[in-house]
């Protein structure tokens, strides 16, 4: 078994799984019915990637764990997602800024993933990059409308952009386990982000500030524990529950 590849799959899969769970929190609470469906669609795209990658991770591990056991029976210290995706959603602006940062990164990451020497992961990358391109489109449209909207929406989405910016640095801190050189993606990621923020009349926060990390080592913010508690309670209370 390749421990490194298993670990890398957890990073990919947990990013998608936690993002899916956060987005799904909007279901029945989004600003409009149309947006409700849009966010649920994006959440399901993320969940689809998480299922494929975690299933593969379980096979690589060879310990008999399937996607459900990996998703529902690991504690926060065993999760390998970046800190960005676990951050709570204050308002819709935070959700859109987070989706903008994440999807701009995932488009580049999944595109690079199509070229790695692993058939399963390159196939997952090929499927997921088209979905991520749509997520980026959705987040970009809303960031522009909120930023270039009313003084209230501008102030709130600028606050969201500033709030989440420190967490983006972790996305590009690649180590030997990463199959894709994430650090090399940052210049292109910045180009995407700068274009959207400029059109949205928003200011990109300066580099050099606080840059928290630790998600890849299982050191998370407390927000993840609450998220996992809600996501896992059914499976833990009723092991093996089925529809």
């Amino acid at each position: 078994m390749s421990t490194d590849l298993f670990e890398y799959c957890l990073r990919l899969g947990d990013d998608a799984l936690v993002a899916a769970q956060r987005l799904a929190e909007w279901t029945a609470r989004a600003p409009s019915m149309e947006e409700d469906v849009a966010l649920a669609n994006i959440a399901l795209d993320q969940l689809g990637v998480a299922r494929l990658v975690l299933t593969y991770a379980g096979e690589l591990e060879g310990a008999g764990r399937d996607e459900d056991q990996l998703a529902y029976l690991r504690d926060d210290r065993e999760y390998r997602n970046c800190l960005l995706v676990e951050q709570p959603d204050g308002d819709f602006g935070v959700t859109m800024a987070k989706l903008l940062y994440l999807s701009a990164y995932q488009v580049l990451l999944y595109t690079e993933l199509t070229t790695v020497d692993d058939e399963r992961l390159s196939a997952i990358g090929a499927k997921a990059r088209k979905e991520s391109a749509y997520h980026l489109d959705h987040a970009s449209l809303w960031t522009v409308r909120l930023g270039d909207g009313t003084p209230e929406s501008h102030a709130r989405v600028q606050a969201a952009v500033d709030l989440l910016w420190p967490y983006t640095h972790e996305l590009f801190r690649a180590d030997a386990i990463d199959l894709v050189d994430a650090a090399a993606l940052r210049p292109r990621w910045l180009t995407t982000i700068d274009t959207v923020l400029a059109e949205a009349t928003l200011t990109r926060p300066a580099d050099g500030g606080w840059a928290p990390a630790g998600g890849r080592d299982g050191l998370h913010t407390e927000a993840l524990s609450y998220l996992l508690a809600e996501m896992q309670v059914l499976h833990r209370s009723h092991p093996g529950a089925r529809w």
Partner: protein, 93 residues
């Protein structure tokens, strides 16, 4: 958030077919309307092309005008191509 104006959605199911009306939705502007339409009406591969049209831009016949609009066609059977013989060997007509 206000729901925005109403948009009518037309989807072309396949190449070669024409767009058909599938429903309506609310959106603040045309770009958001198009994306909402994609999420609401084509998530099960229902289409290859989408039009969104402001509902206010559609001029519709009124139920009050039904008689004047549609009844006169009822007794004009000569408008249907039923007055010639189809040759026996001509298929698919």
């Amino acid at each position: 958030m206000s729901e925005g104006p109403l948009w009518e959605v037309f989807v072309r199911p396949r190449r070669g077919l024409s767009h058909g009306h599938v429903g309506s939705l609310h959106a603040a502007d045309a770009e958001i309307a198009l994306r909402n339409a994609r999420d609401l009406y084509t998530r099960r591969q229902e289409g290859v092309s989408i039009w969104v049209v402001p509902a206010a831009a559609i001029v519709a016949s009124s139920p009050d005008e039904k008689d004047a609009f549609f009844d006169p066609a009822a007794d004009k059977v000569y408008r249907h191509p039923t007055f010639y013989e189809v040759p026996a060997d001509a298929r698919h007509i």
